[in-house]
C-alpha cells in the first residue's frame, strides 16, 4: 500500500513538473500485469537501470490485480501525463489495442514486453525467450539428468494455457530426435497452477508410473510443488526434475537435490532491454522495423526480427539456467 502511495505521489509530481520544466531526457513508463509480483519488481529494477543509462526518467505502474480494465485506466493516465514511451506487459493480447492506438496517435512510443499485445497496438515486442528454445532446452536438460534413458512426464499448468501448450509442442518435437530414442513421454498432466493440485498430480505420477525417471514442469507453481512432492515421497535422485521456476521458490529444492537445474529468463535483463528499446525509439535511433540492429547497453548487440504474430520483436536471449552454482545469488532477487 505504501508503495502505491509513493508511486502515486511520484506520478503527481512528475505530471506537475513536466508541464513547465523540461524534464531530463524522455519519460518512459513501464506498465506491468499487476504490482506486488516479485517478477515484475525485478523487471522494474532493470528498467530503472536502463533509463539511468540513457538519461531518461522511469515510471513503474500496474493495477493491483491483473485486469485489463486496470491497465486501460493507467494507460489513459499515461496519455494525459504525456509520457514519451510505454512498455507494457499485457493482460490481454487484443483488449488493450484501442487505448494503445490512442497513445500512439498522441506520439507515444508503445512497445510490449513479457506478454505481447497485438502488433496493431505496438511498435515492437521484447520477447523474453523463444518458445522453441524454451521447449528444447528443458528436454535437453532432463535428458542429461536421466542419461538419455527412461520414462518422463510433463506436469503443466492448465490445459488451456497457450504458453505452456506451445512449449510442450516443441518438447514433443525435440523428443523425436534419434538421440532421445530410449526416452518415452509417458504422460502429460495438468496441475492448473494450484499448489495442492500440482502436488497431487506429481504424487499420482509416481504411483501410476513406478519407473518414471524425470519430470518437466514448465510452470513456476508446478515445478516447486513437484519438487516438494519428490522430497516428501523420498524420491530425490530417483526422479529428476527440471522446468521453469523462480529462484526464490526453488532455492530449497536445488539445495536438497530434488531439482538439479531449472530455467527462467532473467527479469532484470528483460526490464532493462524493454526500457532500453523504448529509449532508443524515443531518440529515433531505431524505428522498430525488421532487420534493424542496435546495441542495448550492457546486454550487447540485438537485431529486430519478424515475430510469429506478424509484428516485429527483439529476442532477449536463451533462458537463464539456475543450479546449485548460482542459486544463492539469485534466491533473494526474485
Amino acid at each position: 500500500m505504501k508503495k502505491s502511495l509513493v508511486i502515486l505521489s511520484v506520478l503527481l509530481l512528475v505530471s506537475v513538473f513536466s508541464s513547465f520544466a523540461l524534464a531530463k531526457g524522455f519519460t518512459i513508463a513501464m506498465l506491468v500485469k499487476n504490482v506486488g509480483n516479485p517478477f515484475f519488481e525485478a523487471c522494474a529494477r532493470g528498467g530503472q537501470e536502463a533509463a539511468d543509462a540513457l538519461g531518461n526518467t522511469f515510471i513503474f505502474q500496474g493495477p493491483p490485480t491483473p485486469t485489463v480494465e486496470g491497465q486501460i485506466e493507467i494507460i489513459e493516465n499515461f496519455i494525459a501525463q504525456r509520457v514519451n514511451a510505454i512498455c507494457v506487459s499485457a493482460n490481454d493480447f487484443d483488449a488493450l489495442v484501442p487505448v494503445l492506438k490512442k497513445a500512439m496517435a498522441n506520439g507515444i512510443k508503445v512497445i510490449s514486453f513479457d506478454s505481447a499485445v497485438n502488433p496493431e497496438g505496438r511498435i515492437v515486442h521484447v520477447n523474453q525467450a523463444d518458445a522453441e528454445q524454451i521447449g528444447k532446452l528443458q528436454v535437453q536438460a532432463i535428458a542429461e539428468m536421466i542419461g538419455y534413458e527412461g520414462e518422463i512426464a510433463i506436469l503443466s499448468a492448465a490445459a488451456t494455457m497457450t504458453n505452456q501448450n506451445t512449449w510442450i509442442r516443441y518438447m514433443q518435437e525435440e523428443l523425436k530426435d534419434p538421440k532421445y530414442a530410449k526416452m518415452r513421454l509417458a504422460a502429460i498432466v495438468y496441475g492448473d497452477d494450484l499448489r495442492d493440485k500440482s502436488y497431487n498430480e506429481a504424487m499420482g505420477l509416481f504411483k501410476s508410473y513406478p519407473d518414471l525417471k524425470g519430470i518437466i514442469s514448465p510452470t513456476t507453481v508446478g515445478v516447486s510443488a513437484t519438487a516438494k512432492a519428490i522430497t516428501d515421497a523420498g524420491l530425490i535422485g530417483k526422479v529428476k526434475l527440471t522446468g521453469l521456476g523462480l529462484p526464490s521458490e526453488m532455492a530449497e529444492w536445488v539445495k536438497n537435490g530434488a531439482c538439479e537445474a531449472f530455467f527462467l529468463w532473467n527479469p532484470v535483463d528483460l526490464g532493462y532491454l524493454a526500457t532500453y528499446v523504448a529509449g532508443l525509439l524515443c531518440e529515433g535511433t531505431i524505428t522498430g522495423k525488421e532487420g534493424e540492429t542496435f546495441t542495448a547497453g550492457r546486454l550487447g548487440e540485438y537485431t529486430i526480427r519478424k515475430s510469429q504474430d506478424g509484428g516485429t520483436e527483439v529476442l532477449l536471449g536463451p533462458p537463464f539456467r539456475f543450479d546449485a552454482s548460482n542459486i544463492d545469488e539469485w534466491k533473494d532477487v526474485f
Partner: protein, 337 residues
C-alpha cells in the same frame, strides 16, 4: 427422546457413502493396485487432513442454516501471517504456530460471526464480503510476495513430514479435531444447542437458548478451524501464497454435503463429515492414478461427486421412509423433500 433411535438411524444414513467409498476403492484398485497400499492410503488421509479440519468448522455453520464462504480466505490469511511470523522468528515452536492459527483464525471468524449474529446480515452475503476482505488483507500484509520453502525453518516444515504412531502429524491433528468435536456436538449442552438453533430458530429462542451467541460461536469455530487449517496447509506445501486455497471453500462445502450435512440446517454429523472428506480425498487421490486423459478426468470428477450424492440421497430417502412408518415426525418430511 431422539437419541435412542438416532444412533441407529445415523448408521443407516451414512451407509450410502460407505458403500460408495468401498465400490470406488475397488474399481480404482483394479486399475492401479498401488491405490490400495498402506502408503497410498496414508497419502490420501494426509491430503484429507486440512480439508477435514476446515469441514468440521463448516459443518457447524451449515447446521445453523448458514454458510461460511470466508473459510478459504481465513485459511489463506492465517497461513500467510503464520508464514511471515515463522520467517522472521524461526525459533518459534510449531505447536505455538498451531495455537496461533487457532486464535488468529478464531478472531477473524468472530468478526464475521458478529456481522451475522448482531448485524443480521445474511450469512452468504456477510461471509462473501469477508471472503474478499480477508483475501485483500492477505495481499496487503504480504505486499504481494510469498513465503518460500527456504525461508521456513526445518522444525516448522517437520509439522507436515513428522509422524506420530506411524501417522503424519497432520493426520493426527485432524483425528484430534474429529474426536474433540464429536464429543462437543453430541455430549455438550452448547453442541446440542447448535442443532436446536438450526432445526428451529424461533423454538430455540423461546426455550431460552441465546441464539445470537450460538450463531456467533459457530462462525468463530469455523474461523478457528480454518486458521488451524491455514497453518497446516503452509507447513504441508512449504509455501505461503496470496492465492492459497482459492476456490477451496467449494470443496469444503461439497465434503460436508456428501457427508449428509443439510444445507438448509438442522442436520449433520461429525462421522458424516469424516466420510464426506474421505470421499473427496479418494477422488482427488485416485484420479491422478488411473491413467486416463486429464481431459476426461475433470468430467469424471464431477460425475463421481454426482453419483456419490445420488447414492446418498437414495439411501437417506429409504431410511427416512422407514422412519416415517415408525413415527410420523414432521421434521423428517422436510429433509426428504
Amino acid at each position: 427422546m431422539r437419541k435412542g433411535g438416532g444412533v441407529q438411524i445415523r448408521g443407516l444414513r451414512e451407509l450410502g457413502i460407505i458403500v460408495f467409498i468401498i465400490i470406488i476403492s475397488i474399481l480404482v484398485g483394479i486399475r492401479n493396485p498401488r491405490f490400495l497400499t498402506w502408503g497410498n492410503l496414508h497419502d490420501m488421509l494426509l491430503d484429507t487432513a486440512v480439508l477435514s479440519v476446515v469441514a468440521v468448522g463448516m459443518m457447524f455453520v451449515l447446521v445453523t442454516g448458514g454458510i461460511d464462504l470466508s473459510a478459504e480466505s481465513v485459511l489463506a490469511l492465517t497461513g500467510m501471517v503464520a508464514g511471515i511470523i515463522i520467517k522472521d522468528n524461526p525459533y518459534l515452536s510449531p505447536v505455538f504456530m498451531l495455537l496461533f492459527g487457532l486464535l488468529f483464525g478464531g478472531f477473524l471468524g468472530a468478526v464475521t460471526g458478529l456481522i451475522v449474529a448482531k448485524g443480521r446480515v445474511l450469512p452468504i452475503i456477510a461471509t462473501l464480503s469477508m471472503m474478499y476482505i480477508y483475501r485483500g488483507i492477505t495481499f496487503i500484509v504480504s505486499r504481494g510476495e510469498w513465503i518460500d520453502a527456504h525461508e521456513m525453518p526445518e522444525s516448522f516444515k517437520a509439522l507436515a513430514t513428522g509422524r506420530v504412531l506411524g501417522f503424519s502429524n497432520l493426520i493426527a491433528i485432524a483425528l484430534g479435531v474429529y474426536l474433540l468435536f464429536y464429543y462437543f456436538a453430541n455430549h455438550t449442552r452448547t453442541g446440542r444447542e447448535i442443532y436446536a438453533v438450526g432445526s428451529n430458530l424461533e423454538a430455540a429462542r423461546i426455550i431460552g437458548i441465546n441464539t445470537d451467541w450460538v450463531i456467533w460461536l459457530v462462525y468463530t469455530l469455523s474461523g478457528a478451524l480454518s486458521g488451524l487449517g491455514g497453518v497446516m496447509w503452509v507447513a504441508r506445501y512449504a509455501s505461503a501464497q496470496n492465492d492459497t486455497a482459492a476456490g477451496f471453500v467449494l470443496t469444503v462445502v461439497a465434503a460436508c454435503v456428501l457427508g449428509g450435512v443439510s444445507i438448509s440446517g438442522g442436520a449433520g454429523t461429525i462421522p458424516g463429515v469424516f466420510l464426506g472428506a474421505i470421499t473427496i480425498g479418494i477422488i482427488n487421490n485416485a484420479l491422478p492414478m488411473i491413467r486416463v486423459s486429464p481431459f476426461w478426468r475433470m468430467a469424471l470428477q464431477g460425475l463421481i461427486i454426482l453419483v456419490a450424492a445420488l447414492v446418498n440421497v437414495a439411501v437417506a430417502r429409504n431410511v427416512e421412509r422407514a422412519q416415517l412408518r415408525q413415527r410420523e415426525e414432521l421434521r423428517m418430511v422436510r429433509h426428504g423433500a
